[in-house]
Subunit: 292 residues, 2 copies
């Protein structure tokens, strides 16, 4: 998964001269010594006391969480729905700009799960990469490869395709047998093969189904996997790392949101968030060491 | 597909006392004598002369198109990506409010194709129905039934699930064989059966593949089908109606956007849009008459 061009120092540079997403991610994994991705899903009804009012409270809350966890996170993942439902796109823009400014070493994955075709997909790619300036975006691949191409046209950017999500209903369609393999396995093969000429693709695979996570890892080699499901969703960290780690006992962005964001409803929310994030990071690292 | 409750006059009323989506749609089909859905996809680079500048130009343009076509349209379908890419959510909100105000008989289908799970899906449903006040929304069902339930929790609202879109890549995954039927056929069966207890579901099926459209219609009975692909995408209207019409030679929202929106780049754009819309409506009706 090297970027389109690479320099000897090992940092890939895309056409625009920016660091490409996978190189940025590799550095973040190493410098934070962490597989933890901090999910920024600010539910107004669950914010701690200091954020019960104010027109920029989603921004202020996420910003405080980010500041408290940036040195132990390999990525931040803001979820656009929590902003869009509350007319807060401006706060999301400001948040991502602030993350780039204060924590330039931590890549930002915009969780948008868009999926559309042709000129509409181009507009969504523009939304993610030009408006919000995300380093990577989650995309729903159900509409086929031509629906993904407009995102891949940004050579420095990463694209995480939904493969096997963490919910029970994930099996309704993606668990179906398609000629001797499951639909999510077929998707993993396409994503790691013919679709990934530019090396920009990663996959979203839930931690809640470790056998399926292991199956995806076996198919895709060392491709980055964005893995939700630990924390509030209850997946086991050790099983998750055993199933999902790549050949270097890494290669994952293990996302936790609610368990970190809402660790305390009081004034100590940021410190409490950091403690949960640190425990999660350390548990992930302990599980990695057990693999070596 | 009656709403959760219904009155003798034949207009379904949801729990909130509003007219439910399918009843509203039935009335719009009848009163406009039209299967034409006008797609509102305002691409800034293609707007006619009067809209080359101005902070509310997307709103003004779509509003002019809507005013010129409201009496011959069964629905309006704004595509959120064209607003989101240009920081124009406020214009989309204002547009939908204006559509409800000026053309209350025409349902508004928000084309958003969201697809997520749990509390995130709840936020997206809130975005579509509470923030934007759409009458129906398009949703990507790839994540399974539990990803759709938060939308169905709004009993007056309609939910169009992506089934077989109009792009070539639509076959990459949805055309796969799953135990003797195609994935899109399985989806159609689920959508028309166990998923549709509330009668709120419709499907999106492209006109560009009429055999597959006919197959979906055979599976789902008289469920509403939102059918993109005529107009700029080039699908044949007669074949589309023959394949997709329900038992009453209707039951479709046949979407055309670019062919109508960009019928003229000059000051006569609204009149030109109306003429294309009228021709399309009439061609659809001629094709329906041929079925009877």
């Amino acid at each position: 998964m090297a970027g389109p061009t690479s320099l000897e120092c090992g940092i890939g540079l895309g056409e625009s001269g920016n660091v490409d997403f996978v190189s940025m991610l590799e550095r973040a994994w190493a410098s934070a010594d962490s597989l933890l991705c901090v999910g920024l899903d600010p539910d107004p009804s669950r914010l701690p006391g200091p954020f019960h009012a104010g027109t920029d409270r989603l921004l202020r809350f996420c910003s405080a969480i980010a500041d408290a966890t940036a040195d132990i996170a390999c990525a931040f993942k803001p979820q656009i729905a929590y902003f869009a439902a509350h007319r807060a796109e401006g706060q999301l823009e400001a948040l991502i700009a602030q993350l780039h400014d204060r924590h330039p070493q931590v890549p930002v994955v915009l969780d948008a799960k868009r999926g559309d075709i042709g000129s509409t997909a181009e507009q969504y790619a523009r939304e993610a990469f030009e408006r919000y300036r995300a380093d990577a975006v989650t995309v729903n691949p159900y509409l086929g490869f031509d629906s993904i191409e407009p995102y891949l046209a940004y050579p420095d950017k990463g694209v995480f395709l939904l493969c096997r999500t963490s919910n029970p209903g994930g099996a309704d369609l993606r668990g179906l047998d398609v000629g001797g393999e499951r639909l999510y396995e077929r998707l993993a093969r396409l994503a790691a093969g013919q679709w990934n000429a530019g090396g920009q693709i990663g996959l979203v695979v839930g931690a809640t189904y470790p056998q399926e996570l292991a199956r995806v890892r076996a198919i895709v080699g060392d491709m980055p996997l964005l893995v939700p499901g630990v924390g509030a969703q209850g997946a086991d960290i050790e099983a998750c790392v055993r199933a999902g780690a790549d050949s270097r006992a890494g290669g994952m962005l293990v996302n936790s949101a609610r368990a970190i964001l809402y660790a305390s409803a009081g004034d100590d929310f940021a410190q409490a968030a950091r403690e949960v994030a640190l425990r999660t990071r350390n548990a992930l690292n302990a599980a990695r060491r057990a693999l070596r």
